[in-house]
């Protein structure tokens, strides 16, 4: 090798970080379309969640001031579906670690953060797709936006931002837990626990007092509250600010943890 080759290597080529991230996004979107379980989880599962909860719970739950349960449910069940989907990210990252993909990625010049951001980009595309399907199915069975088109767009954007936080948390989980099956459970448990102890499916006021205290500070309640305000109408400034604060906080913790874990990760 010549001295100039080595000198060139010391100067990072421009634009490669973005191109590298885009290559990873393209890879994961292809997998999403080609791996049967991933495709099913991104299509049937969200549809089932909307239909099952609407028809199973819809008769039992009466929410003051909301005419149809599906109007109450949909903003919440969006978070549930995105959370379930995000656990697939933990599984996939652990799998990449086990199969040596991450060794290969780490031996290449694209920085760790760009590789992970590429996956987060694919997750974001999946979440937009899932959100669109769920709103479509919801609309078919009576869901309506009551606060206008701008709020509807803001709802989709907030759902995507929530998905981003879940995505980075699950990348970190997958790299930290390492085993794919364990990583999947580690991704699902917090979603199940936090969703069912929040306002996602039922109003907090129907819960026992001790649980209400937790449910009110539960980040899922906060985020679902903001989504609901955007769908149903009413004051949005404060719920939105609280939800964004949670999302920013989670990202601030999850991104450095995921990047640090990636840099250390090597298949055993």
């Amino acid at each position: 090798m010549t001295a100039s080759t080595i000198a060139d290597a010391l100067v990072p080529p421009r634009g490669s970080v973005f191109a590298g991230a885009a290559a990873i996004t393209a890879r994961n979107l292809r997998r999403l379309a080609r791996v049967p379980t991933q495709l099913a989880l991104a299509t049937f599962q969200p549809i089932l969640l909307v239909l099952l909860f609407t028809y199973a719970f819809g008769g039992a739950v009466r929410v003051p001031g909301v005419a149809r349960y599906v109007d109450y449910l949909l903003p919440g069940v969006l978070v549930l579906a995105i959370g379930f989907g995000a656990s697939q990210t933990a599984v996939a990252v652990a799998d990449d670690l086990a199969t040596g993909m991450i060794d290969r990625f780490r031996s290449l010049p694209t920085p760790a953060a760009a590789i992970l951001a590429g996956r987060a980009g694919a997750d974001a595309a999946r979440n937009l797709f899932v959100t669109t399907i769920m709103i479509g199915v919801g609309a078919a069975i009576g869901f309506r936006f009551h606060a206008g088109p701008a709020a509807a767009v803001a709802l989709v954007a907030l759902a995507a931002a929530t998905g981003l936080a879940f995505s980075w948390l699950n990348m970190w989980l997958g790299l930290a837990v390492r085993d794919a099956e364990t990583a999947g459970l580690a991704g699902l448990f917090p979603v199940i626990i936090l969703t069912f102890t929040s306002s996602t499916l039922v109003p907090v006021a129907t819960m026992p007092g001790w649980l209400q205290a937790f449910a009110r500070i539960n980040p899922v309640t906060v985020i679902v509250g903001a989504l609901r305000a955007l769908a149903l109408g009413g004051p949005t400034a404060r719920p939105l600010a609280e939800a964004l604060a949670w999302i920013a906080g989670l990202l601030l913790v999850a991104i450095p943890l995921a990047v640090a874990s990636f840099r250390r990760a090597t298949s055993a």
Partner: protein, 341 residues
């Protein structure tokens, strides 16, 4: 101007808990050469490759690849290396072409460069027919070829191949050897790990033998073989003939004394030149009236090298039995000279 060594390993150490994966290991590789890092399972070969490929930080010592420090200048090192790890790391749900394209983009190549380079490698590695099929339908050998191709996408001056022929059938192994020989003719420095002396001899300009994380020998492959005491003559007595009697017949024929394998009754004798002793052997056998079931001259294996270098046989861990299936298997590489009735 003298060229930089491709690799300089200077007293590298790496521990995993109580295990010393690398223990004060040092060696150098001249640019444009093939270095065979030879050792049994668990010797530290993969750890060495991972340190050099910037995946693991060493606990002690230093290593330079293309003149750059693998810790302090890791990002720059990654622009100059290609890695094909011990296990095939290509995405099963992407096509061969898509895998190479992605790798090119991750090296910072432009889209059009990555496309033309992917096409070039697919042709060269005999993958053009399956280029647009998903990797999950590929055979093991085809996947391995794609994995090696992926390590070459950016034409890196230094390439690491960690046991590249593992899991290949003899045909696939020889095809890959030919590809690698072609590649290194272009001036790429290649570090190749292997468990097989035969593979190192076939490809490497120089060999470094490691065991328990320590470099125990280095030099040209032929010199290493000479240190192992040249060829091995193996004679199996026919049923009803005492192996000890047979061993007696062989005394003085080789460079050492004959050894009898207690389990098989096979008598092994180190000889400087296997074929040269055959006439003498035939005469002795005829004179003794001993009957022989099988007779073979084989080149020394890694086992023999270890025996010669360390004075103790190297035992393969039982869990690695499936991977210990050697390409130097008698049926493939030994000159089996025939049987007498």
């Amino acid at each position: 101007m003298t060229e930089q060594p491709a690799i300089v390993v200077d007293r590298l150490s790496k521990r995993f808990g109580a295990i010393r994966a690398l223990d004060d290991a040092s060696f150098e590789q001249r640019p444009g050469t093939v270095l065979g890092l030879l050792g049994p399972n668990g010797a530290g070969k993969t750890t060495m490759v991972r340190v050099l490929a910037t995946l693991l930080r060493p606990d002690g010592g230093r290593a330079r690849v293309a003149g750059l420090d693998v810790v302090a200048q890791a990002a720059a090192v990654r622009r100059l290396i290609g890695l094909s790890g011990q296990y095939v790391a290509v995405d099963q749900y992407l096509t061969g072409r898509e895998n190479l394209l992605m790798t090119g983009r991750l090296y910072g190549m432009s889209h059009s460069d990555a496309i033309s380079r992917a096409g070039e490698l697919l042709d060269r590695f005999g993958l053009a027919d399956v280029a647009d099929r998903q990797v999950r339908v590929y055979s093991g050998g085809t996947r391995r070829r794609l994995d090696v191709a992926a390590s070459l996408v950016a034409r890196p001056p230094v390439v690491f191949l960690d046991e590249p022929t593992t899991g290949l059938d003899p045909h696939g192994r020889i095809a890959l050897w030919e590809l690698l020989a072609e590649l290194t003719a272009g001036g790429t420095s290649l570090l190749l790990t292997t468990q097989y002396l035969e593979e190192a001899e076939r490809l490497a300009d120089a060999v470094v033998v490691i065991d328990d994380g320590q470099v125990i020998a280095s030099g040209a492959p032929g010199a290493l073989r000479a240190r192992a005491g040249g060829d091995r003559l193996e004679v199996q007595a026919a049923p009803g003939n005492d192996p000890r009697g047979l061993a007696q017949v062989l005394v003085g024929l080789g460079t050492g004394s004959p050894a009898i394998d207690a389990r098989t009754g096979r008598v092994t004798l180190p000889v400087s030149d296997g074929t040269a002793v055959l006439a003498d052997l035939a005469q002795r056998l005829a004179g003794s009236g001993m009957r022989v079931a099988e007779l073979a001259v084989r080149r020394p294996s890694l086992e023999d090298v270890f025996l010669a270098l360390t004075g103790r046989p190297r035992v393969q861990p039982a869990s690695d039995a499936d991977r210990a299936d050697p390409p130097g298997d008698a049926s493939t590489f030994d000159s089996v000279l025939g049987r007498t009735r």
